[in-house]
């Protein structure tokens, strides 16, 4: 199969680079109608990402609508996680990496030279594939971020509300002093979500948050995500298509090109991707014929 033969390049609006006026309120992202950008909080324009000379993803143009769940799906190695980590500059921590194109958050280029990556990550939080609570108490795990930011309010109340919003309060309220590592895998992941929302980010990036969890814990996280989108915008990477179908509002399907760089094949409201995909490759993937 030759992906380039069947996948028309997504046409994108002319990219505005650094230096152009930052005000682009209400810009419609594309001309082909595949994307209906409703108040996008994050916009990627013609983004390519390099590990040294290797281009991991190329020419990515995506809008992330606010208060929705956007799922990135695609076969292993197509650069979903890499792409996710460019959204909050987590890839900065890996030496020899480089971003081309523009990633904007409220129309601000987060890769502009004057931008502090730490501030970006405070507003765009992250939940990882493997639950990684700190080797501290449950309380201290959640309080960690607010303390860093010099939170002046009622910290115990913030911890409680964060744990409640992460739907884990009832399970841990009697053992806040116990180590976060004493919890089960699913509880640990919800603790990590509580930790992420305690710093009040606008966007939460989730990198296959359920891949190490059993079906029941997975379902809990998905239900949680549906509640969280009232207050947060969520971008989730998943290789579980059922999860994308169940839990997300918008789906972006990526595939690997011949040069092993990931690119966007199709993006649309989730229902369209799964019931009426425009691209044959998308249809093959969502119906389980490859990937």
């Amino acid at each position: 199969m030759n992906p380039t033969a069947t996948a028309p390049e997504i046409t994108s609006a002319p990219t505005e680079r650094e230096g152009t006026p930052a005000i682009r309120v209400g810009s419609t992202a594309s001309t082909d109608g595949a994307m209906v950008a409703i108040d996008p909080v994050i916009q990627l324009r013609d983004v390519s990402f390099y590990y040294n000379a290797f281009r991991a993803v190329k020419n990515i143009t995506i809008d992330v609508p606010t208060h929705q769940i956007t799922a990135l799906i695609g076969p292993s190695g197509c650069g979903k996680s890499t792409l996710l980590r460019t959204i909050n500059r987590m890839n900065d921590l890996i030496p020899g990496t480089r971003v081309e194109g523009s990633v904007t958050f409220h129309d601000e280029d987060i890769y502009a030279s004057y931008v502090d990556a730490v501030e970006v990550r405070r507003r765009i939080g992250m939940v990882f594939q493997k639950a990684n609570p700190f080797p501290k108490s449950i309380y201290d795990n959640v309080a960690f971020g607010p303390r860093l930011n010099g939170y002046k309010g009622d910290l115990p109340a913030l911890v409680e509300s964060s744990l409640k919003r992460a739907a884990i309060w009832d399970e841990v309220k009697d053992k806040l002093k116990q180590s976060g590592l004493s919890l089960s895998g699913g509880q640990q992941q919800r603790l990590c979500i509580a930790r992420a929302i305690a710093t009040e980010p606008e966007v939460i990036l989730m990198d296959e948050p359920c891949s190490a969890l059993d079906p029941r814990a997975t379902l809990q996280i998905e239900e949680l995500m549906a509640q969280l989108k009232e207050n947060f915008t969520i971008v989730i990477v998943t290789h579980n298509m059922q999860q994308a179908a169940r839990a997300s509002d918008r789906t972006v399907f990526l595939n690997m090109a011949d040069d092993r760089a990931g690119y966007v094949v199709e993006q649309a409201p989730t229902i369209e991707i799964f019931t009426n995909p425009k691209n044959q490759m998308t249809e093959d993937y969502v119906s389980g014929r490859f990937g």
């Binding site: 909050n88 987590m90 921590l93 030496p95 730490v118 501030e119 990550r121 405070r122 507003r123 939080g125 992250m126 939940v127 990882f128 493997k130 990684n132 609570p133 700190f134 080797p135 960690f144 971020g145 860093l148 930011n149 590592l181 990590c192 930790r195 992420a196 305690a198 710093t199 980010p201």
Partner: protein
């Protein structure tokens, strides 16, 4: 039981039977056990030998050996000056080598850009750990003694130069063990910190260092007990062989003559009088006890701060 999967009676019984004796396996485990017994036996003989010779001294003089100063008279000689000297040396080492070594390790692991230069420095620090201690003694003589004697001290041969020399000696060891402890902190912890908007300083200070503390403590205290046992560099930088009268003031403690337990052991072992054989063993017992206490302290600290992931 269903007969569908039935097999001829007895065939399973036969096929499961041990067919041959695993000779190589038995021989290998015997060799492992013998190696262990060999090292244990050697250590036991050494320690027992020293105990047999040294314990009578304690029986005869009680704590007199611990509280008396050095003397050429075996009946009066004691190791108090060595105990004080070793304690001072250990404090100086702890105050200089620990912070410098741990901070160096943090820089190498968390801050230095990964590249050829960093790797080159890393390898060289490892090589430095293998340099014989007597070479560090010469370095101490050339640098610390020379400098300190210029800035006013009589001959620069005091406990400060000795301590600094031992510091340099164990610095590579402190750096290596601390760097390994820092490297052992899972990357997921760092990512979690960065992911909620912690700066590098906050990640290092609040997450990496607390997690690495048990390992760093174990490594540094073990390095300290290595310093406690060193003789050659101290002799080179002027630790006293023979006896000296203790100074009266606190300043004399730091700028006057000094000795250390291993130096005393070396000195007494060379003395011609037979009485000093037993004294040497007694001093060795004291030195061993000090080292064991230091190591025990290291284990205690490690257990106290131990974390699981």
């Amino acid at each position: 039981m269903s007969t569908a999967g039935a097999v001829a009676a007895g065939t399973v019984h036969v096929s499961l039977r041990r067919q041959r004796i695993d000779v190589a396996g038995y021989v290998f485990s015997a060799i492992l056990l013998l190696s262990l017994l060999f090292s244990l036996a050697l250590l036991t003989v050494l320690v027992a030998d020293q105990l047999v010779r040294g314990v009578p001294v304690f029986a005869e003089r009680g704590t007199g050996l611990l509280t008396s100063p050095l003397s050429s008279n075996p009946a009066k000689a004691g190791v108090i000056q060595g105990l004080i000297g070793s304690a001072l040396l250990a404090s100086i080492v702890a105050l200089t080598a620990f912070p410098v070594g741990i901070l160096t390790a943090v820089y190498i692991e968390e801050y230095a850009p990964a590249g050829r230069l960093t790797r080159f420095i890393d390898i060289n620090i490892r090589n430095l750990a293998g340099v014989p201690s007597v070479v560090y003694g010469l370095l101490g003589l050339a640098v610390f003694v020379a400098v300190l004697s210029k800035v006013g001290q009589a001959n620069g041969a005091n406990v400060i130069t000795g301590g600094l020399t031992l510091s340099v000696l164990i610095l590579p060891l402190v750096i290596i063990t601390s760097a390994e402890a820092i490297r052992a902190v899972p990357n997921a912890i760092r990512e979690a910190g960065y992911g909620i908007g912690a700066s590098r300083w906050q990640v290092v200070r609040k997450l990496v260092l607390p997690s690495a503390t048990p390992g760093i403590l174990t490594g540094t205290v073990l390095a300290l007990s290595r310093a406690l046992g060193e003789t050659a560099p101290l002799i080179l930088v002027g630790a006293v062989l023979g006896s000296f009268s203790a100074g009266r003031s606190l300043a004399d403690l730091f700028t006057g003559a000094y000795s250390a337990l291993p130096v005393i052991v070396y000195d007494w072992a060379r003395k011609p009088q037979d009485e000093f054989r037993a004294l040497t063993s007694a001093a060795i017992i004291v030195l061993l006890l000090v080292t064991v206490i230091a190591n025990g302290f290291a284990i205690l600290l490690r257990n106290r701060y131990d974390r699981r992931w």
